[in-house]
């Protein structure tokens, strides 16, 4: 943990000095945000954003808020109202704050009156059904489903499919990714969700942390490969295998 944190902080400092040197590969789901917002502008319908079924203590919800800010700024440019639905009451003021700040920054504070942050129900299935009903009633054009989802993900996304919306989803909950892939147009999978804010903002500090994260994965991979080779040579449980002893407690 300490080593990984040091690597991340080192890469952040490198990125601050040379911002152009850090590269993040294109993520289709995030590139499609402009397309989704453009579609909403053409059709004239609002955009619906659902930040997941958990509150801000879940890191995925925090990552989703980063995407929300970016989407809100895009909506402000085109004058598209937003509807945000959540099943956690504590997320309501947080989301309101995010979109209000985004609208103010783009000089469109009046959009806040046309936008809604709705707490539907604490039960995630009822919140999903409520969101699906909203998509039909208010003729939502594009739907963003970012954050932590439970089994109700398909209720949300299939509702959007029925309403004819363009859907972009992003979650690190691996069980829900297949459902989103089946019913959404674009899906941001697993750790790509945590790279969203960095990718969209192109902030050197955040891009540096993504690079540091990748170095951490590289180190883990090397450790795994070394462990596999040594276990193959010595066998599992062999006292000569110092590598195994190092990671056993």
């Amino acid at each position: 943990m300490f080593v990984f944190s040091c690597i991340v902080l080192w890469k952040i400092s490198v990125a601050k000095r040379n911002p152009d040197k850090v590269y993040i590969r294109p993520i289709a789901g995030l590139k499609a945000i402009d397309e989704a917002v453009g579609r909403a502008a053409e059709l004239g319908g609002p955009i619906l954003f659902n930040p997941g079924t958990d509150d801000f203590t879940n890191i995925q919800s925090l990552a989703a808020l980063g995407v929300l800010e970016h989407v809100a700024k895009k909506c402000a440019v085109f004058g598209i109202p937003m509807i945000i639905t959540t099943c956690k009451p504590v997320m309501v003021p947080i989301c309101e704050d995010v979109i209000r700040s985004a609208f103010d920054e783009e000089g469109r504070p009046e959009l806040m009156h046309a936008s809604d942050v709705l707490f539907i129900a604490t039960a995630s299935d009822l919140a999903a059904l409520g969101a699906a009903a909203l998509m039909l009633d208010r003729k939502v054009s594009s739907v963003f489903l970012f954050g932590s989802y439970d089994y109700t993900s398909l209720l949300c996304s299939e509702g959007g499919k029925l309403a004819g919306c363009m859907q972009i989803a992003g979650t690190a909950d691996y069980y829900q990714i297949p459902f989103f892939i089946a019913s959404c147009d674009y899906v941001v999978m697993a750790e790509e969700l945590f790279a969203c804010a960095s990718y969209l903002s192109r902030d050197p500090v955040m891009m540096g942390s993504i690079a540091g994260q990748d170095y951490g994965k590289l180190i883990l991979f090397c450790l795994l490969a070394l462990g596999v080779v040594l276990s193959t040579i010595y066998g599992i449980g062999n006292p000569l295998n110092g590598f195994e002893r190092l990671f056993t407690y």
Binding site: D150, Y151, Y174, Y175
Partner: protein
């Protein structure tokens, strides 16, 4: 023929719904019994729960609610039936769950207790709901009565006259195993409840989330698992094989729901294959139309 197959590419949604509904309903109208193959994880879980240890109880964390009752109800009832048949005392509680979770568990406990003549307080205790995972898991491991100062009906857990079972339960060393029955059990149970990892931890989860727990089984952190309705059906089959007529399976849901589930799977497989056949047929149809200058032959 090609035209007919090409139409499989655009089957209407309501057709799929109707076929699925009718196919899944058939086993409820016509009782069908099918042979079961018992998976290793279910068998291990059954064996571990069967091992009666003196002065130890089976701890069950029952977090499920009606949303997942199709899988978890049958699983929970099978575990409770096993405990009650073998006269194994157990405690049940809920952690960070819906406030109705203890009530659902208690309804099943009472049902099974009536069949096997078990008494609340002596053979089982329902400790109700607590919050604060994962730290509360560690607190339960250190002192059960410090976390649960009363049961779900507000009887103090120190009142050994009413709850004699609680007299010998202090901490995790008094558990023979831990069952977690939930749609998606919290894997923190493996880490926080017993840091010495001596306590066998068993999960009863929904089928779709079971894939994430196989790494824990592979590493030995989870000793067994009941996967979805299939797992519940296998567990009931093991109970039947072990206890014969002593096991009263009337109203148990595992095997009753497995056959409709199997039929539903077949319908999905059929439509997936049909969709692919339709896609190929449509491509062929387009190729043929192109060959004939945009007209159908």
């Amino acid at each position: 023929m090609l035209n007919l197959l090409a139409r499989l590419d655009v089957v209407q949604r309501k057709t799929i719904y109707i076929v699925l509904f009718v196919t899944a309903a058939i086993p409820f109208l016509v009782p069908i019994r099918m042979p079961l193959y018992i998976w290793k994880e279910t068998r291990n879980a059954f064996t571990i729960t069967s091992k009666r240890q003196p002065k130890k109880v089976v701890a069950i964390c029952s977090n499920w609610v009606p949303g997942s009752q199709s899988e978890n109800w049958a699983q929970y009832e099978a575990i409770v039936a096993q405990c009650m048949i073998t006269d194994t005392p157990f405690i049940v509680f809920a952690m960070d769950a819906d406030p109705m979770a203890p009530q659902f568990a208690e309804a099943i406990n009472l049902r099974q207790a009536r069949r096997y003549g078990r008494v609340y307080g002596r053979d089982w205790v329902n400790l109700g709901l607590t919050r604060g995972a994962p730290l509360t898991m560690g607190a339960i491991g250190r002192s059960v009565k410090a976390v649960f100062q009363s049961d779900f009906q507000h009887t103090p857990t120190q009142d050994f006259e009413k709850l004699p079972l609680m007299k010998d339960i202090r901490d995790v060393r008094d558990f023979s195993c831990l069952w977690v029955v939930d749609y998606q059990p919290d894997s923190n149970w493996v880490v926080f409840l017993d840091p010495t990892t001596k306590l066998p931890v068993l999960f009863a989860c929904a089928g779709i989330v079971s894939t994430g727990y196989y790494p824990y089984i592979s590493s030995g952190q989870l000793k067994g698992m009941m996967v979805g309705t299939r797992g519940a059906a296998e567990y009931e089959e093991l109970l039947r094989q072990t206890f014969g007529k002593a096991f009263d399976d009337s109203g148990m849901r595992g095997q009753k729901l497995l056959v409709p589930l199997a039929f539903g799977h077949l319908v999905i497989i059929f439509f997936v294959i049909a969709g692919n056949v339709g896609m190929v047929a449509k491509r062929r149809q387009k190729a043929v139309e192109t060959q004939y200058g945009g007209r159908r032959p």
